[in-house]
Symmetry: C2
Subunit: 317 residues, 2 copies
Amino acid sequence: MNQVRELLKIRYPIIQGGMIWCSGWRLASAVSNAGGLGTIGAGSMYPDVLKEHIMKCKLATSQTFAVNLPLIYPQVSDHIDIIIENKVPVVITSAGNPSLFTSRFQEAGIKVLHVVSSAKFAVKAQKAGCDAVIAEGFEAGGHNGREETTTMCLIPKVRDAISIPLIAAGGIADGRSMMAAFALGAEGVQMGSRFVATIESSAHESFKQAVINADEGDTQLTLKEITPVRLLTNPFAEQVKLAYQNGATIEELKALLGRARAKKGMFEGNMIDGELEIGQVSSRLDNLKPAKDVIVETMREFNSLRSQLFNELAYID
Amino acid sequence: MNQVRELLKIRYPIIQGGMIWCSGWRLASAVSNAGGLGTIGAGSMYPDVLKEHIMKCKLATSQTFAVNLPLIYPQVSDHIDIIIENKVPVVITSAGNPSLFTSRFQEAGIKVLHVVSSAKFAVKAQKAGCDAVIAEGFEAGGHNGREETTTMCLIPKVRDAISIPLIAAGGIADGRSMMAAFALGAEGVQMGSRFVATIESSAHESFKQAVINADEGDTQLTLKEITPVRLLTNPFAEQVKLAYQNGATIEELKALLGRARAKKGMFEGNMIDGELEIGQVSSRLDNLKPAKDVIVETMREFNSLRSQLFNELAYID
């Protein structure tokens, strides 16, 4: 019995990451309608925008969906009220202390999943009463842990440290990587980059094209002194690199980053000056497809691989 | 039929990495006698020392064993002569162009495996006629690729790019991580850190203890401008970090690194001034054991997991 499916009341234990600027109600409802867990990314939404997306998502699907909520967001308290008032079934919290809000959500009947980048923080999330943990490796796009632990090393370490359900993130985009995550001890996966490159994602078309054109070595974890973030190489990322080479201070880096860079890149499609957050696994993506196809094809490959591993591939007499 | 076993004539498709200062004839023969592929690490050996280790290894095992040969080593030509004269069954080449020496080894009846960190270099290795490829992810210890691609992203990418047998390295230390590598498309694994922490490894006892004491975030990929290398945090690694913060030039970094740092740390046990090369997976190791136990326990977990994934863990109806 798969604990992630039981907990979230979903058909397939595949969670769509709540990526800023890419994950509105269209993507979330498409994923939920296909049997996964669709997620609205609140990190790039003002409270009224979030409310609109939740309401539209509810109209578009009768299935479980989630809101991803970075706890460091300045208007987090407004967001929490909206999530509770609108009875969102699941909240995925990240970038903050899960002990602050978990019980408030749970008292309202909302399941809480917390994103971590280490076993140490996974234990804290379990102690805070979270329903499950999403452990995200170094290869993941966007904001990331300082320990740089990869999914391969992170998942078994976390599995051995906690007893609540575990979902793997970072480097997962198909049935093979999903099966690898299960072998490591996860009972579900979260995919970000793969869902950026879908028809329903609200990413700008230019960003989607850049994602499927990305090759090996085209993303890099940077800005570690502010908040580590994995970016696709573009002129802005090159500027950041140059600033490091010139010994820029944290203040200078913050000034260079400025405001609204992520919106400019991922939502407005400015491939020169925008900040483009994406995972390493983008180097394995070469097409845009409907979110439903991602789910269906992933499960088909996963199920077929399950038999193949048992009967041939992992059979060592 | 597992291609890696067929190619190398070994019982279990587990290769012990040829780590400098840690992999002499004792470790190599113990691994080969246990059914894996033991490897002598030539990178830290003068030609006469290598010859001695090969001869002792042959006396200690009748099974297949290998020599790991970094192609950038200054005395590589002497090493090649010794390997051929002494009929070493397998050579694992790394850090250089595989098209230079592969056919010479093969004409002498020696199988050639080449270590790569990207699909691009895997294709080159296949074109050079190598018998198999070892693809090593960012989490691996010691010298590493510039692309920083993790094992989770690297293995399926390489699998789709080549047709010769593929061995996964980086983050692998037990049956769970071995099964993950197989799910991603590998037919064998190479483990380094796990074999450093064995009774038979020639690593200094202080280094072995430091390896099993390592926690999350305790290793870091550094010296990227010279040759990227993953080091365990110690006062020397802190010095390197400080040098970067102070905007050190490549020449200054090279001077700081100096000579014989790796020997000082890993072989002589100087935990202050020595260079300590180890993988991220060290954070998952908490004991020293005989090399044979590593092989036996890995295969036991791998085989048990194969059934569990099929019957329960990966069964999604």
